[in-house]
């Protein structure tokens, strides 16, 4: 059977899993995009012309049919099978209950999962009263599900339906990063249900093993406050497993319309930033891309800046540090046209730093950058790219490796 189409979006993502689990259960052939780059591939003009909300996953059928929304896609994939009723329901009542749980999962549950995890992972600012309100709501919905699941193996009827697939996928990030063993005991029916689901062959085939949260992610240290005393250097070795970088799963957002920038009135420059970004993306950084940059760099039209986080001693887990960079970059959205940079997460768990370099249009830090909510948490220092030491640092920074980095590189993010 030829594939019915392609599910476009990052493959390690619980929204992406839904349609693939459906395809697996019903034997529908569905293509995926394992090399999808979040924040890049869903920001191109071509993508946004087709899918204006800029969110992923989206679906493009072999016949050209275009669809957005992970749950709508999962439903459509199911509808392509002659056995669709197995997952979509046999009667009006089953179909309605399946929709009921799907809407509950999408409009009630999912916003609270995102609402709890985004501030903890540093994607949005951590504001305690707002966090507590959403946390309370999240627990309330878990309580509701716990009641509903008291005497049920599956949500609707006596077998797996798409409602189970969607609810389970929407719960996954909470079980992985938020719900501790104590919480799981409290919501034992939900936990039993979740474990049963993720152990079904179709779930396992798509998601692999789901490891339940051992220690809840803690909010990043508040950025704008007096520095705390340095933690004692001798920290008890944490027995926990090595945590993988947590990807935040809110469907990625489209840029909003940009107001006219002052930078548009600067004299023309010989180097188009887009050309650099393209060359950087498509070539080895060292030596090819860097040679291109030094050859084409317009020192009149651009400036280099060293960027360092002001509160390195408050950083904890490496993956959280890296998420903090991602959060900062998403708030730099307005600067996308005028800036390029790399910020790296250097060091190890509980002892790491954010360090990197930016190229920006003009000789000053533009308003598009200073306007970002957490701009003040970073030190921006003008850098002289003609100085050999600085130049070596820039090269290694953009390459994410090399002797000029102040510490070993764990991960990083490119702002382009």
């Amino acid at each position: 059977m030829a594939p019915i189409g392609t599910l476009i979006g990052p493959t390690v993502n619980s929204r992406n899993y839904k349609a693939r689990i459906v395809a697996h259960v019903l034997g529908v052939d569905l293509e995926t995009t394992p090399s999808f780059q979040m924040g890049v591939d869903n920001k191109t003009p071509e993508f946004l012309a087709k899918y204006p909300a800029g969110k992923v996953p989206v679906f493009e059928g072999a016949d050209g049919f275009q669809l957005t929304d992970s749950s709508a896609i999962a439903n459509y994939v199911a509808s392509k099978s002659p056995n669709s009723a197995q997952l979509l329901g046999e009667t009006d009542e089953e179909r309605a209950l399946i929709l009921q749980y799907t809407f509950f999962a999408e409009s009630e549950l999912a916003p609270t999962v995102a609402g709890v995890l985004q501030p903890l992972l540093g994607v949005t600012p951590f504001i305690k009263p707002a966090f507590q309100a959403v946390e309370e709501q999240h627990f309330r919905f878990l309580g509701v599900l716990n009641t509903i699941l008291l005497d049920k193996t599956f949500l609707v009827g006596e077998r797996l339906t798409i409602a189970d697939i969607i609810v389970t996928c929407n719960l996954t990030m909470s079980f992985k990063l938020f719900l501790t063993a104590d919480d799981r005991k409290k919501y034992r029916n939900v936990t039993r249900y979740f474990k049963t689901m993720v152990n079904q062959p179709a779930f396992k085939a798509v998601m692999g093993n789901v490891e339940l949260c051992e220690k809840r992610v803690q909010p990043p240290a508040p950025a704008k406050k007096e520095k705390k005393e340095k933690k004692p250097a001798e920290q008890p070795k944490k027995a926990e497993k090595k945590e993988k970088p947590a990807k935040v799963e809110e469907e990625e957002e489209a840029p909003k319309p940009k107001p006219k920038s002052k930078l548009e009135s600067l004299p023309e420059t010989s180097m188009k930033l887009d050309d650099w970004k393209r060359f950087y993306s498509n070539n080895d950084t060292k030596p090819d891309a860097m040679e291109w940059l030094w050859k084409n760099y317009d020192a009149e039209g651009y400036s280099f800046w060293k960027v360092e986080y002001k509160y390195n001693d408050e950083l904890t887990k490496l993956f959280m540090t890296n998420n903090l960079i991602g959060g900062f970059f998403s708030r730099l959205e307005r600067a996308r046209k005028y800036a390029f940079g790399n910020l790296l997460t250097l060091g190890k768990d509980d002892d790491n730093m954010i360090w990197g370099y930016f190229i920006v249009r003009g000789k000053e830090i533009p308003e598009e950058v200073t306007d970002a909510a957490d701009f003040e948490s970073f030190e921006w220092t003008a850098a002289d790219h003609t100085d050999p030491k600085t130049r070596a640092e820039i090269e290694d920074c953009f390459a994410w490796e090399g002797p000029a980095l102040p510490r070993e590189c764990y991960d990083g993010k490119t702002f382009k």
Binding site: P52, A53, G54, K55, F65, L67, T68, D69, S71, A72, I73, N75, Y76, S79, K80, D92, E93, R95, A96, L97, L99, Q100, T102, F103, F104, E106, S107, E108, A110, P111, T124, P125, I127, P129, A130, A133, F141, V144, T147, I148, E253, A254, K256, P257, A373
Partner: protein, 224 residues
């Protein structure tokens, strides 16, 4: 035709959805003459049947119980022999209708609620959070404005459940939040909504919709 069941909940955009569906499909849907929000949906009997505690809910003449306004309106539409008219005739139409309904319920409404609940005083104004919600809402309205474009209806050439869901959700945003200058930013969408609320079924259920002239008291100042 005897009644199919009762929709339980106060009169608001969430109950309107099923009422508009019933009106279009000629289905006899009973409603509660009086419902006290925060009281009638908090009784132990209510919560035993509908643990989420949210309204509206549906109780069929046959005892079938359902919660969630969008799910209820889908269920009602299914009860008509002509259900394809609102729910779509092909897999692709059905999928598109779901796409818009999920978008309206989970993206648009979740952003709108975060903004409107501050206006209504349900949640405190926390500035960075509020600004994020406002930006998000603006982005979703912008995306919808693009999607609507020159279209009269969201899916195909006639009104579907997607239009009922989306238009009902937009109504609350247009009544309470979007001022004339905001509405001008979403020309396609404003035109689309104005068409919808003037459809006979909408008019009969919702009545006259008055777009926002002044935001509710205690609203945070608009940023420009």
């Amino acid at each position: 035709m005897s009644t199919i069941g009762t929709q339980i909940g106060p009169s608001n955009i969430r109950t309107y959805k099923a009422m508009i569906v019933a009106r279009i499909m000629g289905i006899d849907l009973a409603s509660m003459s009086s419902f006290e929000l925060g009281v009638d949906n908090k009784t132990p009997e209510f919560l035993a049947k509908y643990p989420v505690g949210k309204v509206p809910v549906f109780e069929g003449a046959d005892g079938f119980m359902l919660f969630d306004s969008a799910a209820i309106s889908f269920y009602l539409a299914m009860q008509s022999p002509d259900s394809g008219r609102l729910l779509g005739h092909t897999n692709q139409e059905r999928a598109k209708i779901l796409q818009y309904s999920f978008f309206a319920e989970s993206e648009l409404m979740s952003a709108a609620t975060k903004v409107l609940h501050v206006f209504f005083g349900f949640i405190p104004l926390v500035q960075p959070t509020f600004k994020t919600a406002e930006d998000e809402l603006a982005r979703f309205l912008g995306a919808l404005d693009t999607l609507v474009g020159e279209k009269t209806f969201l899916v195909g050439d006639r009104m579907t459940l997607a239009d009922i869901d989306v238009a009902c959700d937009l109504t609350v945003i247009y009544e309470n939040y979007l001022l004339a200058e905001d509405r001008a930013k979403y020309n396609n969408l404003t035109r689309y909504l104005t068409d919808m609320i003037n459809q006979p079924a909408f008019k009969e259920v919702i009545g006259e919709v008055v777009y926002c002239v002044k935001r509710p008291e205690g609203s945070p100042p608009t940023r420009h």
